[in-house]
């Protein structure tokens, strides 16, 4: 690299205003890119983390989601006698019949519309979902609920044990708050199954969650359920596999994020290109002089691209740092509650995006200056 780097750096400092403006523009693009990628990644992780290797969900085979299909309650009584199911200390098979529903409520003075995800369970559920940890209060009794720690995001307010939430036919006292390793359950309300049936006038159940003795038994258990003539409506699927299919919604977020980032990057590239063309116009005679001294077109091109990359990388680093501001921010998107995690890998990818912007923003102006006629350049005032 024959043209010294200090030439580029000092030239950038010489035109501080335009340099700062383009850096901030790129920083904004990178910040948005990183935020979108982090959001998609965190959402995907929340979904994928929702599931145990040794859990199987049995739902209605006519639907892909437990939300829309129902199973008769007696299914539970057939399933609990199937082989391979883990038993608790009392010898009771860990088979958890559950209701699952979404209801919207109006909350607060502004009557904000909130979609609640509610799960009706039996005490066996706490053993079927060992990742669930109560971080405040206790397990709910009849008439009470326990809420996931991400639920307050929907309401925009914090809840404490003893607070009440109105949904269904009555107010429900919050007996406890739980966390479950960042899974999507953290955005749900759990209550007694029978209370939920009364509240929402439901007769049947939505699903049965079964904990197996070993993950190795999963395939054979699923086959047993799906081929069982006494369970014609039932469809068994591994819990992890079930939630993985829901992860498709995160792809939507990812694609949207990429489209937005690409469009903004194009804007940044054209903006950067414009600035570089203006730079070259102001330094035409300098470029002519360098060529006259013996510097080759390649030296000029490289120097200008490096200058563009320096601007872009500064923007990338600033954007990455700014994106830390969304780290830990809780969201409830597509009915999945999660906290955004801005990882070093995503930040690095943001910086790489900034380098792309810098490279393409400097390429055409660099080529144009490299091909400049020396005679014309030296005449430039």
């Amino acid at each position: 690299m024959a043209i010294p780097l200090k030439y580029n750096i000092r030239s950038l400092l010489n035109r501080r205003v335009s340099t700062v403006l383009i850096i901030l523009g790129i920083a904004l693009v990178v910040m948005i890119f990183i935020s979108m990628m982090a959001m998609a990644q965190s959402m995907r992780q929340a979904i994928v983390q929702t599931g145990c290797e040794d859990n199987v969900i049995i739902k209605n085979k006519s639907t892909s989601s437990v939300e829309f299909g129902l199973l008769p309650e007696e299914v539970h009584n057939i399933i609990k006698y199937l082989p391979g199911i883990k038993k608790n200390n009392q010898g009771i098979p860990l088979v958890s019949p559950e209701l699952y529903n979404r209801k919207f409520i109006k909350f607060g003075e502004e009557e904000k519309v909130i979609w609640l995800r509610i799960r009706g369970i039996t005490p066996l559920a706490y053993e079927a979902y060992p990742q669930l940890k109560i971080i405040a209060g206790r397990k709910p009794k009849r008439g009470e609920v326990i809420i996931g720690k991400e639920l307050p995001v929907k309401f925009g307010k914090e809840f404490i044990v003893g607070d009440k939430i109105q949904f269904g036919r009555q107010e429900h006292v919050i007996a406890g708050i739980f966390e479950s390793g960042g899974s999507t359950y953290e955005g749900e309300i759990w209550m007694d199954k029978e209370d939920m049936k009364l509240d929402f006038d439901m007769k049947d159940i939505s699903l049965v969650t079964v904990k197996l003795e070993s993950p190795l038994l999963k395939d054979s258990f699923i086959k047993e359920v799906n081929q069982n003539p006494r369970l014609p409506m039932a469809d068994a699927i591994g819990e992890i596999e079930y939630y993985s299919t829901l992860a498709g919604t995160s792809i939507f977020v990812l694609v949207m994020g990429i489209i937005i980032a690409v469009l903004m990057s194009l804007g940044a590239i054209f903006g950067g290109m414009n600035i570089m063309y203006m730079t070259i116009a102001a330094r035409t005679r300098e470029i002519g002089t360098l060529r006259a001294l013996g510097y080759k077109p390649f030296h000029i091109l490289t120097s200008l691209i490096i200058e563009s990359l320096i601007i872009a990388l500064c923007g990338g680093i600033i954007g990455s740092i700014l994106s830390i501001g969304v780290n830990g921010y809780s969201l409830d998107l597509f009915e999945i509650a999660f906290s955004i995690k801005v990882t070093p890998a995503v930040m690095i990818s943001g910086c790489i995006v900034s380098l792309f912007i810098g490279f393409f923003g400097g390429l055409l102006p660099g080529l144009s200056s490299a091909r400049m006629s020396i005679v014309e350049a030296l005449r430039h005032v």
Binding site: P4, R10, S11, N14, R285, T289, L290, A292, L293
Partner: protein
């Protein structure tokens, strides 16, 4: 007898502007001997700067030959031209053409960055060049911190730091007051007499032409005195 450093034979140069042919140089034949100080005068538009551009291979002739130190300049491949210019030609421009964000030292060092000299060797060359032009105490000054005459002296140092055989000066005193102009011309004379540099200087200044040992006149693209 000094040998010819520059041999120009039947040189023509035309430009095209909006499909109209503009003849800038017509049938120029000229020899410049090694160590000569040549003054090239003529009215504006007579082709003086174009002739310098052709000798330095910044531009290409429409027809004719230019041989510099035994090398036919028009046959040098594009990718080698930069190196050839760097080694053989020094430039002094009317407006100095210093890089504003580089110090005097860094400006003078620029041509040396294309050579294989080590950092220490480059430092020696640069400091020597700046000492010769009398600016050893301005090494870290930027062009904006120098007077016009001082800037031109830095430009002169840059022109000869690679020890080229030929130095081409295009109106080197055009932007200077008479006192500074005299200093520059004296410096150029020193380069010629003490360091045996061949100088070809384009000028309008009658005072400046007196420093040249040989004067050539261009008129409407033709050499009147050769």
């Amino acid at each position: 007898m000094a040998e010819s450093l520059v041999k120009i034979k039947n040189l023509y140069k035309s430009f095209y502007r909006d499909s109209i042919e503009i003849k800038v140089l017509e049938d120029i034949t000229l020899e410049v001997k090694s160590g000569e100080f040549v003054g090239l005068m003529g009215p504006s538009g007579s082709g003086k700067t174009t002739l310098l551009n052709l000798i330095s291979a910044i531009d290409t002739p429409t027809a004719g030959n230019i041989v510099v130190e035994g090398v036919e300049v028009t046959t040098i491949k594009e990718k080698h031209l930069g190196n050839w210019r760097n080694r053989n030609i020094g430039f002094i421009f009317q407006l100095y053409n210093l890089i504003p964000v580089l110090t005097a030292y860094e400006n003078v060092e620029l041509p040396l960055l294309l050579t294989n000299l080590s950092s220490r060797e480059r430092k020696e060359h640069v400091e020597t060049a700046l000492r010769i032009v009398g600016l050893e105490d301005r090494i870290d000054h930027y062009p904006r911190q120098l007077s016009g005459g001082q800037e031109q002296r830095v430009a002169i140092a840059r022109a000869f730091v690679t020890d080229p055989k030929i130095i081409l000066a295009d109106e080197p005193t055009g932007d200077l007051d008479s006192q500074s102009a005299k200093e520059i011309l004296n410096l150029m004379k020193t380069l010629n007499e003490k360091f045996n540099k061949t100088l070809i200087m384009v000028t309008h200044d009658p005072e400046a032409e007196n420093y040249a040992e040989r004067r050539l006149r261009l008129q409407k693209g033709k050499l009147i005195d050769g």
